[in-house]
Amino acid sequence: MTLAQKIEEKIFKVLMIIATYFILVVLAIIIYSIFKKGIKSLSWEILTQIPKGGYYYGKGGGILNAILGSLCLAFGATLLAFLIGLPVALYINVFLIRWKKVAAFIRFLLDLIWGIPSIVYGAFGFTMMIYLGLQTSLLAGIITVTLFILPIMIRSMDEILRTVPYGLMEASYSLGSNKSETAFKIFTRQTISGIITAILLSFGRAIGDAASVLFTAGYTDHLPNSLLEPVATLPLSIFFQLSSPVPAVQDRAYASALVLTLIILIVSLFSRGLGKRYHKTKINF
């Protein structure tokens, strides 16, 4: 090995270490700056009250409307996406197990859909609302976000369902159960932890996305009380408060960002923990 080669290797190794730790440091900086800015203006009042008159000029109130709105929207969308996504993921893995090409095509289609930016879903949702004569509402938001998280939900369930051993399916058939029973009773039970992880992952996506709800869910200062009325969401409340020129309102945007980040961190911690805990009950062939 010549000296030049040795130096090249050393340089690249240093660069690699820098790149790796750079990513970790940036993550730490992001979390730190969100916490540092947000914790100052976070208060009980912000979490438990709806905006009062003059809220956007610095008067009192909180973002309870956005917190509850976001939770409603994300729960609704995750539930709907689960109801559509689970059968699709099961269909690919149970019914299409011998039709490898068809299954591969559906997976490919899902990956394509996954790549579509959320703003396109927002715009599409908006055109649909105009066609159907709907107003901006919780329902329109839920439908749009459902479309947006569907590929995420299905593909992450699919990844885990693929790991189900072939023998388990054969055992189930040999005991006389049909395909749908095998799918809904055996496959779901074997992969329950993965399915929960998929649900939590989709929930995190649903609650954090702003571009798709911008057109469809609208915004309101009231608490969500009907599917057919507009609803406030956390990402949009951050966005709107941040555009205000009043410093006090901007501070509350930082607090709202902290709330949103915390929700997402908790959801992601939960999904990691669950994945580990239920791993033991898995049957191995």
Binding site: M1, Q5, E8, E9, K13, L15, M16, I17, I18, A19, T20, I23, L27, I29, I30, I31, S33, L83, I84, G85, P87, V88, L90, Y91, I106, L109, L110, L112, I113, G115, I116, P117, S118, I119, V120, Y121, A123, F126, T127, Y131, L150, I154, N178, K179, S180, F184, G204, G208, D209, A210, A211, L214, F215, P235, I238, L242, Y254, L260, L265, R272
Partner: protein
């Protein structure tokens, strides 16, 4: 205890599955159709070339030139990729080839968290950290007077946002390469870095290109974070310190007034249609790279 008997349940489950599958499989088609029908009004009255390459954007007098937005989007996306790609590649090689598995165990949750942070929060972080950084340090360093809201700010924020996507794919690709290949190269007397450079990276090349392509498509469609830091000025940017405007930001910023000006809604849906077509096209091409890679 069941309302339906066993065969009825079987039938119901099957119908449920098939309907869901149809919903999902026809989704891209309906997305395209919906946006196309809505932007048809614009496409009917204007020449496609004029729309894509027209430089004047004045919806009030019926001038719809998307060129500044397209150029802005391309600038931001490419710049973000130029920053992000080498970092991701180096980090992925280090994590999979050199470091202990302990580091990988730290990296995985870190990637998850980075991927999970909502884009609004990234945008907020960009306003808090990146924009003042450019205005105070980077701008003066290059002798430019800037407020910070610029193409560069958007690219920097985006480059962080796409790290988890690219890095995740890259790590998977490098881990899928059999360790025997590297061992064989080492046994022939190559150094570790030589083996990585000549054997592993070469073998993973289609996968690496695909990972970058997915990152590119993701960056092209990113809305809120870019919107918050890019400056939103409709003009052709001359340098990276100039403010710009991107296609997703155009849609998101103007949804409120789009029904008040004729054809404005049509124009915004056309912007969404461009985004849809570009993202589908990119993902399609990159899939062929992945398929080629899987065949090895």
């Amino acid at each position: 205890m069941y309302i339906l008997n066993r065969w009825q349940r079987h039938w119901a489950n099957n119908t449920w599955m098939i309907i869901s599958l149809l919903v999902v499989a026809t989704l891209p088609f309906f997305l395209f159709l919906g946006l196309y029908l809505k932007s048809f009004l614009l496409l009917h009255d204007y020449h496609l070339g004029h729309l894509l390459f027209g430089k004047i954007w004045k919806p009030g007098i019926g001038q719809f030139g998307f060129f500044p937005f397209i150029v802005g989007s391309i600038w931001v996306t490419l710049l973000a990729m130029v920053i992000s790609a080498p970092i991701c590649l180096l980090a992925a090689i280090y994590v999979t080839q050199y470091s202990k598995t302990r580091l990988l165990r730290i990296m995985h949750p870190a990637i998850d968290i980075l991927a999970g942070i909502p884009s609004v929060v990234y945008g907020l972080w960009g306003i808090l950290v990146i924009v003042p950084f450019i205005a105070r340090y980077l701008g003066p360093l290059f002798g430019v007077d800037t407020v910070g809201y610029s193409i560069l700010a958007a690219a920097l924020v985006l480059s962080i946002m796409i790290v988890p996507f690219i890095l995740n794919i890259l790590i998977e690709i490098f881990r899928a390469i059999p360790v025997e290949l590297k061992e064989a190269s080492l046994a022939l007397g190559a150094t570790e870095w030589q083996s990585i450079k000549q054997v592993i990276v070469k073998k993973a090349l289609p996968g690496i290109i695909a990972a970058f392509g997915f990152g590119l498509a993701r960056a092209f469609g990113e809305t809120m974070a870019v919107l918050m830091v890019v400056g939103n000025v409709v003009e052709l940017p001359k340098s990276v310190f100039d403010p710009g405007y991107t296609l997703p930001a155009l849609i998101a910023n103007n949804y409120g007034e789009m029904l008040s000006i004729p054809k404005y809604d049509s124009a915004l849906m056309f912007a969404a249609l461009i985004l849809l077509v570009v993202s589908l096209f990119f993902n399609l091409i990159m899939h062929f790279f992945i398929i080629r890679y899987n065949k090895y």
